[in-house]
Amino acid sequence: MSSVPLLLDIKNLHVHFIVYGGRLRVLDGINFYMHDGEKVGLVGETGCGKTTTMKTILRVLPMPPAHIPQGEIFFKGRDILKMNNTSLQQVRGRGIAMIFQDPTAALNPVFNIGEQMGAVIKHSAIRGKRSSHQEVHQQAISSLQEVALADPERLLRSYPIQLSGGMRQRVCIGMALSTRPELLIADEPGTSLDVTIQDQVLRLIRTLVEEKNTSIILITHTLGIVRELTDRVYVMYAGNMVEVAPTKKLFANPRHPYTQGLLSTVPRLTGGGIASGIPGRIPDYLNPPAGCRFHPRCTYVMDICRAQKPALFRPDQDHEVACFLYQDQPKDATTP
């Protein structure tokens, strides 16, 4: 590892939710890292903990039900989980920004776009330097311009309810990027929009991220988008990272049975109709299966899978997979 700290480095993160009935072990020892300027994809089915991971990074999980028994999240070498409120507020926004799935809910209904963008711009301005009314206005306009919205002057005086879903999503992206973050977390951007708008939104994110050289974590169900937009992909299953690889390698040669299943669910124009998918569903987090959490659904299940949690094995340079099928391969030195 080089002396320059990684942009983001999550080590052995556990997140539990304490609810009636017991303890939901939602994140079970997540390891995740990314370099500055990298574009990383995070895929996995609904309920596997993608959003929980991202919310933990920004510490916006409601903490009474949620509970972090162990783990560290280093952002540029500083542990986010140990930060005080002031440092945390500085990391949020200028360090890490987030775009949410539902653009309608992410805008405050009682303020117009100008007022909301103004608040973000004023907040993200360099401390001590006060921007004039006109500067804020101009900056808001250029942010709206960047996300390809026409007639920004009128838009600034509009309320969220007066905009279409696609426009709102663009406003959210513009707002998130107006703080000039080093890392952008896009949590299923545009999933609630129709496919053509979703496509536009994703292309827009790609253009902006490339222009500004922002690092991005893209969370999505749509594997085609991951293939097109990212350098490296993490595959998540039931609170575990099961496979990590450069995007091309992962799509060409998926190793983990879950990844193989996930990729086979993509409907193809050629070939025999709708794929079979993976039978079964995400396990109960209250009593997760012992050993590998995927074993009840796995076609290659072995005795060891039921007893022991697989470490990350490295079947290939920069390709890591948590599956005993690859236990003969050299073990990753960084994991226990």
């Binding site: 916006v60 903490m63 949020r92 809910a105 805008l107 303020f111």
Partner: protein, 310 residues
């Protein structure tokens, strides 16, 4: 892709600061216009606001508009006692010869003052506590605030007010304190419920991840979304506070004679029912009109904040 490139042209605002401010003023005026449109669509709301305005003006200018301002204080005129309504005394006179119309309008003063002062004391405290408890739901802040609220809510409110008012020296100000003490938990409860729902909204999370301070989230993200139920409740509560205040003075724990108060007047007049009915009935009627006016106004406020049906 090409379409996007075309849209993303350089555009810099050519507006001056005056023009920007002018546009902002204009949109504020539009908002006011829309609010009045929605408020006034129900004619009864307009009647309500007119009633309230007239009552408030009467109360403010009581010494100038009443026929016998002297009768508001200690005054006796046994020769003219218990006169039925006439042109000289529209509401008649009471058992010691004072003009009931005059005393009702002066009584209105303390009633309205009570309504306003109680809400001015209660709303900021109740709302602030509710916001804090709602935003920090599940933490010790929530527990402390809401359990104290529960304690106050578990005591029958009128009994609590009576107890407080009787321990303290009975007068208008202590009556107000007593009513305020039993009233704030309702606002805390209301805002707590709204706050718990709002804090999980994505726009709040969105503000959090942008690095907004707790104060910004409480007062700029959550509070503005709770304004409409708060204002609606306030406009209806004025009437309730006036009723409770009148109850206190009815049992002798509010405004003390000879200072006029609607509750005391009803209590005094009740002894002369049914023969000299006007002594009790007219002050009671004034209370009815005040309460009706504020209720109609409250309905209008509720309509004003309701989403527009298209």
């Amino acid at each position: 892709m090409t379409e996007q490139v075309n849209l993303r042209r350089d555009y810099s605002s050519k507006l001056t600061i005056q023009q920007i401010k002018q546009m902002e003023r204009e949109s504020r005026r539009q908002n006011l216009g829309r609010s009045w449109y929605k408020f006034s669509r129900n004619p009864l709301s307009v009647v309500g606001i007119a009633m309230v305005l007239i009552l408030v003006l009467l109360a403010i200018f009581a010494p100038y508009v009443t026929p016998y301002p002297k009768h508001a204080q200690a005054f006796t005129d046994f020769a003219n006692a218990k006169l039925p309504p006439s042109w000289q005394h529209l509401f008649g006179t009471d058992q010691i010869g004072r003009d009931i119309l005059t005393r009702s309008i002066f009584g209105l003063r303390s009633s309205l003052l009570m309504g306003v002062v109680v809400l001015v004391l209660v709303v900021p405290i109740g709302v602030l506590l509710g916001l804090l408890a709602g935003y920090f739901q599940g933490t010790w802040i929530d527990t402390i605030i809401m359990r104290i609220t529960d304690i106050f809510l578990s005591v029958p409110p009128l009994i609590l007010a009576l107890a407080i008012a009787s321990v303290l020296e009975p007068n208008l100000w202590n009556g107000m304190m007593a009513v305020s003490l039993m009233w704030w938990p309702w606002y805390t409860r209301l805002v707590y419920g709204l706050g718990v729902a709002l804090r999980n909204e994505y726009f709040v999370t969105s503000a959090e991840v942008t690095g907004a301070s707790t104060a910004h989230i409480l007062f700029r993200e959550i509070l503005p979304n709770t304004i409409s139920p708060i204002l609606t409740k306030m406009s209806l509560d004025v009437a309730w506070v006036i009723i409770i205040g009148s109850m206190l003075s009815f049992v002798g724990l509010g405004v003390q004679p000879p200072e006029p108060s609607l509750g005391t007047m009803i209590a005094d007049g009740a002894r002369y029912l049914p023969d000299q009915w006007w002594i009790a009935v007219f002050p009671a009627l004034v209370i009815v009109i005040v309460v009706l006016g504020f209720n109609l106004l409250g309905d209008g406020v509720r309509d004003m904040f309701a989403a527009e049906e298209i």
